[in-house]
């Protein structure tokens, strides 16, 4: 993907937003995952040159993020998270206007605006004033403006936020189509794991401004731990303590369901042994499928 950053630090006043981020990406579609406030949008804004890091350096498409921001922005498409448009315009003029600002000739920008609006499914509403657009249409429009100048790299910040299930599915399909068939690399930031799993093969997980994990999703999902779902009856305190002592992590779910992450090399029989010692009844025991969600929960920490 041609994103290479080294030891990036960024603070909002006294608050540390990013701390020591090192990334080197070459994949077609990369997910930037993390809970709210993890630093995902900040990282995207640093890559675009909106924010200057307090420390560290980086390159996007071979251009320095501190010194060559204009070049980065020329070849990168950005779909912001916020609802944003320019009042007084219809979709065609909006998209071609932003194409022109990217460096396209006027006629070409206009022609291209029609093409991308067709592509994102806004062909019928392209002459409507943007003020009358629904949330779903605005999301598509944001994608169209990010694509109009045919970028080499696309930054998508929470592209499915505020969408209904059908709209979300359609936007995700579009993004998957772009990243898999159109030779445009995509960096998608989201806190929705399913979105990332649907589109990306590679993921970066940010937590509290730090890179908690990164790698191919298929490998991250490989069982480096075993996951069991159990329900118990009895005093759980001692049971939990002993499980933690052998390296397990426990997550409380709804309906008194517990998710127990067992470290490699430990047998599930340990759970039964400890339960026996603590006089706990195990009423439900299932070896669970590990998903990205489980990995994410484990990496960002479980309350």
């Amino acid at each position: 993907m041609s994103i290479e950053i080294k030891d990036i630090h960024f603070n909002y006043g006294k608050i540390k937003a990013l701390s020591g981020i090192d990334i080197n990406l070459e994949e077609d579609a990369v997910g930037l995952l993390g809970p709210n406030g993890a630093g995902k949008s900040t990282l995207l804004r640093i890559l675009l040159g909106f924010l200057t890091p307090n420390k560290g350096e980086g390159k996007v498409l071979g251009y320095d993020i501190k010194l060559q921001q204009m070049r980065v922005r020329r070849y990168v498409g950005y779909m912001p998270e916020d609802d944003c448009f320019i009042p007084g315009m219809d979709a065609v003029s909006f998209t071609s206007y932003l194409g022109e600002l990217s460096g396209m000739p006027r006629q070409e920008a206009m022609k291209r605006a029609h093409e991308v609006l067709f592509y994102v499914g806004l062909e019928e509403g392209r002459y409507r004033q943007l003020e009358t657009y629904s949330v779903g249409m605005k999301q598509r429009l944001k994608l169209a403006q990010a694509l109009v100048h045919d970028p080499k790299l696309l930054f998508l910040d929470e592209p499915t936020s505020s969408l209904d299930p059908q709209g979300r599915k359609e936007i995700l399909e579009l993004i998957k189509d772009i990243s898999s068939k159109k030779d445009i690399q995509v960096l998608i930031s989201s806190h929705l794991l399913s979105d990332i799993e649907f589109i990306c093969s590679y993921v970066l997980i940010l937590n509290k401004g730090q890179l908690a994990a990164q790698g191919e999703i298929s490998k991250l999902k490989e069982i480096k731990y075993s996951l069991y779902e159990i329900k118990i009856k009895g005093d759980a305190q001692g049971f939990f303590q002993k499980l933690k002592r052998i390296g397990c992590e426990i997550e409380n779910k709804e309906d008194k369901l517990l998710k127990v992450y067992m470290p490699p090399g430990k047998s599930p029989q340990e759970i039964f042994r400890i339960a026996l010692e603590e006089k706990i009844q195990i009423r439900h025991f299932i070896k669970s499928q590990t998903s990205l969600e489980d990995f994410f929960a484990k990496v960002v920490g479980v309350d």
Binding site: L51, M70, P87, M104, E108, E115, H149, D150, K182
Partner: protein, 289 residues
Amino acid sequence: MTIREKGYSHWDGELSEKKFPWWPITRFGIKLTFKKKFFKIFFFSSLIPALVYLAGVYISERLEDFHFMIRKPEQFIQINPGYFKSYFTGDFLLFMMVMIIVFCGAGLISDDIKHNSLQLYFSRPLKKSQYLLGKASVIFFFLFLVTLVPGLIIFIMKLIFSGSFKFFISYPWLPLSIIGYSLLLTGFFSIYALFLSSLSKNSRYVAILIFSIYFFSNILYEIFSEVFKNQHFALLSLKANLQQLGAAFFNQNLPYKTSWYFSFLIIFSFSMLAVIYLKKKVKGVVIIK
């Protein structure tokens, strides 16, 4: 609504660095302003003084034709730098300029802040100064049409109607004064409008601010000068300062008993502070601390 009826295809052109990357911003701003209700009425009304002054030039050269209408023709219309000064610093023209910037300037930045569109601009290869220049050029366009263009036309018409270069030889600096004062008026009003436009998300509040600061500063001057019988309070008034500078530009007697240096200092300082504020305020990301 089906998606991808037409597939995505790559654009085979080359993205280039444009000479005037801010021009699309200006073009769109001008187009949008002309769409506004009542703007055309105000704009064309602001050209009335230009037509009147142009007619004055014509009449001054054809006094014999109008002899029967005028008692003392030699005192009737004197075309000199004072004539141009009175055109540029006339209350009506200044009022119309304020009305024009209310229409075309109030929403220039405030609408972008309101609709989060600054990040769309700055995710493009566009510098902050280019964005501001694009926005300011919208105001430049309209104000030049009521200052610089009529000023130069009146000057050229004077030469054409008189059929000689005598007027130009007498006042060779006058075209420069017309250009210089038009630039000052336009530059100041552009910065004034952009600065106020960046203060609020609501363009209506901005419009009220543009209008009220200009007029209240003058009311304040009139109150203080009446109470204290001191004309130095003219420095409080934007209009008085602009008129004072107009007189200085056209080498005429100053209308207020203060030095034009102070007026220049006030207008210049205000403009500089506004530019510094604009550079800080306008950015792709709003950081909420």
